[in-house]
Symmetry: C2
């Protein structure tokens, strides 16, 4: 029997949209990997096509994180679900002081989703990965029937190396520490909401979606960084509340010091939202020792992602677990965690 010249008798494989078979582990799955994912994410670990990637890492403690992305719409001013999926996990790793190295990517596709759109998303993920200097080394694709998904959901996980001597974590804040934010707040959430609500401004609100790992790597040698957090879902208010609870300290911020873009402020006013609770995707909060605060702030401002960095408050031994804000008229208000969310499916 001669099998050499045998070929598939059914050349049916030119689909413009995702079909269930793309998730079936057969030829269609293999073609998606070979023609879409491999060329975009190109690296030797992924090209081996094993059940897992095998990696050689430098010695050190490992940071490990995961996030699923269900943002709607998939494309928005300043980014897409693709950049979000890469930068979101890169930034989570950086919040431990880690240098992000490798990502995994899991796609849940809805039957009927456009392959052209998937291609665009994957291309943007690849570009974001290049920019953040991480490799996407392992992945998975599942397909669900029409009406059981929403185009595409993406999960990424990531691993990075934590440098020796770095011990950053949500329980490290101490009374007297200074609270810094790396730039304007609320841009990502309001970019999404503007699209959804059809809001028009003179200039479009753009998501701040960006990697902040290089910024973190540049700040670490200065010393004095106790806590880092990227204020995504729930915004600055929720992040500071969580840190206050973990560290058993109080926090005081000044409303007037909060950097907010004019259009973001207008959109928030229109929709009755508080920018303190709106998601960011390229910012970080840093709780730092008072003696290092100025040096850290100065260094931050040399980075394009943190030009508008500023001090927004301080840590106190009073009212532990609680965040309060001094308002423009000099009053004090408690800034609680929200019960649920004001903006669903923002990331």
């Amino acid at each position: 029997m001669n099998f050499e010249n045998w070929t598939c008798p059914l050349p049916l494989r030119d689909y413009p949209n995702i079909v269930l078979g793309h998730g079936g582990g057969g030829k269609l799955s293999a073609e998606l990997v070979e023609h879409l994912f491999l060329p975009a994410f190109r690296n030797s670990a992924l090209a081996n096509l094993g059940d897992s990637a095998v990696l050689t890492l430098p010695a050190g403690r490992l940071a490990y994180s995961t996030d699923s992305f269900v943002v709607r719409p998939l494309f928005f001013p300043g980014g897409s679900i693709g950049e979000l999926a890469v930068n979101g996990t890169v930034n989570d790793l950086a919040m431990s002081g880690a240098k992000p190295l490798f990502l995994s990517a899991g796609f849940i596709l809805e039957e009927g989703f456009s392959l052209a759109q998937l291609g665009e998303i994957v291309t943007r993920m690849a570009e974001a990965a290049r920019q953040a200097r991480v490799q996407i080394v392992t992945g998975d694709t599942k397909v669900v029937e029409r009406g059981h998904g929403d185009g595409v959901y993406i999960n990424t996980s990531g691993i990075g190396i934590v440098p020796d001597g770095i011990h950053i974590g949500p329980a490290q804040a101490r009374p007297g520490d200074v609270i810094l934010v790396s730039g304007t707040i609320g841009d990502h959430g309001m970019a999404i909401m503007s699209v959804r609500e059809g809001l028009q401004f003179d200039t479009e609100i753009e998501s701040d979606c960006a990697p902040v790992a290089d910024l973190v790597a540049d700040l670490l040698p200065i010393g004095g960084i106790r806590v880092l957090r990227d204020p995504t879902r729930g915004g600055v208010a929720s992040s500071l509340n969580e840190i206050a609870a973990s560290s058993a300290v109080g926090m005081v911020i000044d409303d007037v010091s909060l950097p907010v873009n004019e259009q973001v402020q207008s959109a928030c006013s229109l929709l009755g939202l508080d920018p303190l609770y709106v998601a960011n995707e390229g910012k970080l909060l840093a709780i730092v020792a008072p003696e290092n605060a100025d040096a850290i702030l100065e260094r931050m401002r040399t980075h394009v992602v943190a030009e508008r960095a500023c001090k927004i408050g301080r840590v106190t031994s009073e009212h532990p677990g609680m965040l309060v804000s001094r308002t423009r008229i000099g009053a004090t208000r408690v800034v609680t965690m929200q019960l649920g969310e004001q903006l669903p499916r923002i990331c």
Copy 2:
């Protein structure tokens, strides 16, 4: 101002079902983590509640893998999406010869999903993790609106350590090698299909969902293992086709040697399916050097997950990239990769 005795004025937080707010990064999200995930997955890395877990690993190469799980129904004879999500990734890591250590878990929940069912799934994940001796150290929860999901989708990723000197991969098969399977094939896929199609048998078909990492760890010291693969989606046929392509070798299997449970065979016949293409979730294929095959087979059979392990074929230099099967009547057929899938949403 005295904040000490301040409490939330809205004690609204006793929800029997998932609401959008459970994915919002506010109090409801925090409660889900604190009351559901933390107690079930209990470990110090997770309890730190940082943006990423910080882990100390033994030296060595790292295996890294990810899988999303969209199985329907969520509960089936022999398991649930919870055990699948843990064992699926544990087994992918083991296929590199790695000792699995840590998992991440990302949940995409649909608004309205029962918290009791979520609790049951999480409990089963925790039990599966204990059994496979891995820790779930980092996680994420998103919520999508009713009609944009299907109860719950779970992504897990995992990392493990590959022992020194172990180089197992899909390109390592050589002519003359022996093909082993660790037990009966098709059980998982047919357990799912029996539930979906309402098939009745004298004894219920149970999924084989189980971790095979301990089995692998026990086989490695024997030596001679070239390739390992867990034949999930696409079954044994797709896995062997992929290995044949990666290693540029041919493969010949004997239909009569394939171990298939009687009920699985009956269900396959009823539904017009070939067990060679049906998913397994607790089996492995091993391509091994001929001189080690008997010792490996003997050792396999001492494990409860591999009691019915057997030789099913051999690797050949003929027809590279192709899998052929000798049928019961002595004929030879080409066993191709399927185009799409015969069984959607099996894992």
